[in-house]
Symmetry: C2
């Protein structure tokens, strides 16, 4: 490939045009408030990754510009799922994010140095593809640039000045130019494994700075303009055929279980004492606990949760109620707010309603396109799988009651001043959609009851029964996990 370059005059003229167009597009992006545009800058050493970003800090509106750079995971990052640090630092809607050392950096470097196996590298790349796919489906744009130096250039001695800057900006102190071949091979594998339609890798010849800057500006502008056009179009995909689960778990549940007041009191105390002990176990500090509570309105989620929180140290506990997304949250990928709330080691987080809203209320009420809730099952499984891998025990409960029992409880709520506020017109409307919700729950259980994060369906027709059962399951699962931790 011949080296591509640009003379100074052409550069100046073209850069003025691009600057103007970029500022316009950036302004429009903010106005439309769609997902952020992520620009990943990878490439050879000395290809000018940092210098490129300097250029754009002169060309773009810096108030809508975010630069993220990730080094090796440190501190708490080591003990959280790999992708957590990227989720939690996702730029705000309508803004640009430049990434130096993105999620590719660590696996690429480790693989090129022979520190991880081919299989390990491949599975890391697959995880990334699923991550990027989710983001792009949710309106985030991803531009992946590989700044490329052709053969002869890489051997050119960097000038003192370039060198100084590169040294200041580089992330891996002990990485020398000699590793060029290994990195090239690893990068080719990476490119092969992760160039998807929605987020392909784009190589940019970077031997000539002028050419490089203009080329990247054109790519970014092109991405922005495509996005802005797409955003203004109506793009509701057609509802595809959805078979629906045939296993009707909810209808087949036994709603007859009851617990007497005395038995309840005794068993509640036993299991609460057990839970108090378990979370104080020193090994729990290497784990964490995420409890997901879903269920029909008035099924008794709050009361069950309270019986559990009473046993926990409030300093290491957080109960998150999930309401409809705020205006800001609605512009972000739906999993983001849940990623931001996952427990740190030694902590317990309880979701009172959860990320399953996507396949429950959002599905039934038509708040998201059919393709999106259908794809969500796998995305949610990925999320929970990553939690599992980093030591979080995920336990999911569906508290089930019959339609008749719900009616009784609604009527009782109308009369009680404590619970009056819990009942809204919407609750009554939801009752009319009972069969649709039932199907959604059956589908949810069929698709997301995984080995690492199974669903527990509990009859809450008798609240005492559900409370004791939930506590018991939490204790048993936690005990098993801590036991397994011992053997490791």
């Amino acid at each position: 490939m011949p080296e591509q370059s640009l003379d100074k005059k052409t550069y100046k003229q073209r850069s003025e045009e691009l600057k103007e167009a970029l500022l316009d597009a950036q302004f429009e992006l903010k106005r439309q408030q769609g997902g952020p545009v992520l620009i990943l800058i990878s490439g050879n050493d000395f290809a000018g990754k940092a210098e490129l970003i300097y250029t754009f800090y002169g060309w773009l509106d810096t108030r809508r510009l975010n630069t993220r750079a990730f080094n090796l995971p440190a501190g708490i990052e080591k003990r959280m799922p790999r992708l957590w640090r990227y989720w939690r630092t996702l730029p705000p809607s309508g803004e640009l994010g430049f990434y130096l050392g993105s999620w590719y950096h660590q696996p690429l470097m480790r693989f090129s140095r022979g520190q991880i196996s081919e299989a390990h590298f491949q599975s890391a790349m697959e995880e990334i593809v699923r991550f990027e796919t989710l983001l792009t489906r949710e309106g985030v744009s991803i531009v992946k640039l590989w700044l490329h130096l052709t053969g002869p250039d890489t051997s050119k001695k960097p000038s003192a000045d370039t060198f100084k800057q590169t040294v200041a900006m580089r992330e891996w102190g002990d990485f020398s130019a000699a590793d060029y071949d290994q990195v090239r091979d690893a990068a080719q594998r990476m490119e092969h494994l992760t160039s998807t339609e929605a987020a392909p890798w784009i190589r940019v010849q970077s031997s000539d700075e002028n050419y490089r800057d203009i080329r990247v500006a054109e790519i970014i502008l092109d991405t922005l303009q495509q996005r802005l056009e797409a955003d203004t179009q109506e793009s509701q995909p057609p509802v595809s055929d959805w078979p629906g689960a045939t296993h009707r778990v909810l209808q087949e549940l036994d709603y007859s279980a009851r617990l007497s007041k005395d038995d309840y009191k005794e068993q509640l105390e036993t299991w609460q004492a057990r839970l108090r002990e378990l979370v104080r176990h020193p090994r729990f500090n290497r784990h964490s606990l995420l409890l997901v509570f879903e269920g029909s309105d008035a099924a008794g989620k709050g009361g069950t949760i309270r019986r559990i929180t009473q046993c926990l140290d409030p300093r290491h506990l957080r109960v998150h109620g999930t309401a409809a997304p705020t205006a800001e949250e609605a512009t972000q990928p739906y999993l983001l707010r849940f990623w931001k709330r996952i427990p740190a080691p030694g902590n317990v987080v309880i979701f009172d309603r959860s990320h399953y809203g996507r396949v429950l209320v959002e599905r039934v009420e038509g708040f998201c396109p059919a393709t999106r809730w259908q794809q969500a099952y796998q995305e949610i499984n990925d999320f929970e799988q990553q939690l599992h891998q980093s030591g979080t025990l995920v336990i999911k409960f569906w508290l089930a009651i019959t339609e008749e029992e719900q009616l009784r409880r609604f009527k009782a709520r109308e009369k009680s001043s404590v619970k009056r506020y819990k009942l809204t017109d919407e609750d009554w409307r939801n009752r009319e959609k009972w069969p649709a919700y039932e199907q959604a729950v059956n589908d949810m259980v069929a698709h997301t009851s995984t080995r690492h994060a199974p669903w527990y369906l509990l009859s809450s027709e008798d609240k005492r029964h559900a409370r004791v059962e939930a506590l018991k399951i939490v204790c048993e699962q936690l005990e098993q996990r801590l036991e397994r931790g011992k053997k490791q």
Copy 2:
């Protein structure tokens, strides 16, 4: 004082009534979306601070409950202003926050152990009073409880069970009951110094658990109800007399300074190179830089900022544009969003418009009561003083242009496609308020130009002049600071 206690029956009956009333009030608090209610739980060892919170986790709606516990500052906390960690973890609007180990904990413990002087303790207490005053003025409620054990009780041996729990919950491992007298004396000083009208300390006899729980529930309920009543009242305080600064700094500025194109190019390069060097200085890692840019519309803030960002490592830089607060931000103390954006050590943060909005646009447009912007000068000085103390260099620029020059620029913007988006109807409206803004700027400079964070007024009638001046001031101030750091 006789010991206060409650029999089981009274406790049960009263707790049922309180639970109901508390849930109602908590719900109403969320609905009104006012500032959060902070409940600080301090007191003697074995007085049941943690147990008390357990009780409320059974009584309240846990989804609107936050428990914060702070140990000794660790990691980055040590290098940030003392109050930063409390600011950044302030509970959301309309929610409750229980504090175990609040901002009082560390100074109290250190003073009671003789690790800090009386004067140091006193100044820490004063800082806290200003902090709490600001919060309460901004709609946050603060309840400060001291759980009190009367003389004989403190000598009572804790039962094995209580002891176990207290040990699990206590924050200071090596603190023994023998220190009781020292803590009592220090607590009395604390109470004396920090019992303000808006946030007084309340002592609660805690020898009897039932009495303690009911008493605290009553206090919390009382606070919530007072708050809810106050929120529904119209409470616009009368506009007080405001003298206004007589020193008309803006009118007396010299607007004639000009820089030729050649001089500009040369000086720009010189100072940019200097700044690049300075921020790479190893000692800069112990400091950080906060640049505040304010100025009339079209004064050239963006262009000046860009000339500075070009010299900085984008990974350690963040430019924050300040727009009107979002719906969520509007319910929070106005300084909160700026506290959340202060630079970490080794970092540069630039505010393109800033926390001075309170005494500029909010004052002129009447977006906040007169008392609040008048009080804000001192609050802002406190904020910047704390930044200074923790190693942040705060430099504030007002870019000034004449009314005529602004008109010329507005007209030019209308014709330019790059800058078109910068001009709104509001900009034209603002011009009509020129004298009011001028007075606001003069007042701002008079009240907030402190020794540690002075204002620099730059004529931007000639943009080149302003850009070079700003760069030069940043370099000179930074150099001085790094030099001083050397001597330490």
